[in-house]
Symmetry: C2
Subunit: 202 residues, 2 copies
DNA sequence: GTCAAAGTGGCACGATGTGCCATCTAGTCC
DNA sequence: GGACTAGATGGCACATCGTGCCACTTTGAC
């Protein structure tokens, strides 16, 4: 665990989250093109100039809310000591999503709302794709660390399979009418099993 | 076949391509943030205002050069009458990429250069992800047309597998030192086989 | 209490993207 | 061939975006 962060550091994190949540709330109601940076900054209680010190564009402001889960399963994979890679990744997906699902219901519903808005709005969709792309990139490095002699192409393919399993599951979950019949956790795990079933040499 | 397009229509297409190629050439030399719309428009011989009638942003200007292949295999899948879906998609990938590879060498190298620039530049990477995302979306619709009763989640998964097989192959091909040892066509086909091996119910 | 380091806000400025209108060309009808 | 309409283009104005610069305030260490 990291040492207790300084007051300044905690305030920065708080400001970051305030901006992110203000942006998410506004984006849930209006299209991104109809929301100015000034409106987001004002809602978050900071100046425009400060907003741009935290995020490069207004769309990026929701990034922290979309990457909360990613951190979890990245460390889970890094720390896992399962022998086979597919097993380790599958396990990481299951445990991470399960614990995330156990958190408070309200946060889960907010995430769902944000994802819905993300699917509708082009600019937000670009952020969603970027987040997933970076996840895939990160996973490539993690796999390469565990299997230094693996075929680089196979590594990319496995990383893509894992990322897509989670991505497609989330997209389907967000688009489902109500509480979907199938549990997202088992669905993501099954999806990864299916996508990675034919990948050999790892 | 469409009727012979009018002179106006042909000129519009020519202008579109001129802008796209001017943008690609400039992006190959400089970072996107160092290339103004004015520079692209000037290089293409049009005004700034006209540029914005063809593309929404300067990054989008390269889209036509990144989607040339996509049209091909979309129609190939739509027209294919192979019984099993995986076979039809695999066949479409092979034939489309093969014919694309037979075209003139210079165009191929230009595409490679554009892809290299695309991997390095954040903004262009976003365009690349958008193009692939739309490909996946389109493929979902094509699959749903052929298998109206299929599980929607499985459809998404299969579409993601096919898109990723091509995407990862292209990214790897662009990043390879020189003429890579493995032919991209066979590699993409093999990648799709591996990713889709475990997808059942289609 | 003093001081360096760092976060914040205001201002200016180039670049972006769009609405509006004037001009010119393509294709049609007489 | 000549006139007319639709559509493409260019120029201008304007709101917004994103950043460099400087002054002010707060934090945390000595």
């Amino acid at each position: 665990m990291a040492a207790a962060p300084s007051l300044t550091e905690r305030r920065k994190q708080a400001t970051l989250l305030e901006i992110a949540e203000a942006a998410a709330e506004l984006f849930a109601e209006h299209d991104t093109k109809d929301v100015t940076v000034e409106a987001i900054a004002s809602a978050a209680g900071v100046s425009i100039r400060t907003f741009y010190r935290y995020f490069q564009t207004k769309e990026e402001a929701v990034t922290p809310l979309l990457t909360v889960g990613a951190r979890g399963w990245q460390t889970a994979i890094a720390e896992s000591n399962a022998g086979d890679l597919r097993g380790a990744i599958g396990e990481a997906i299951t445990t991470t999503l399960a614990t995330a699902g156990d958190e408070d219901r309200e946060a889960l519903e907010r995430t769902r709302g944000l994802l819905r808005a993300t699917m509708k709005d082009q600019r937000l969709a670009a952020v969603w794709r970027r987040v997933n792309g970076e996840s895939e990139q990160r996973l490539c490095e993690l796999i390469a660390d565990r299997k230094p002699d693996a075929d680089p192409f196979a590594v990319r393919l496995l990383a893509a399979a894992a990322t897509d399993a989670i991505r497609v599951t989330f997209e389907h979950w967000a688009g489902a009418d109500e509480a979907s019949a199938v549990d997202p956790v088992t669905r993501a795990a099954a999806a990864f099993d299916q996508l990675s079933a034919g990948i050999d040499g790892l």
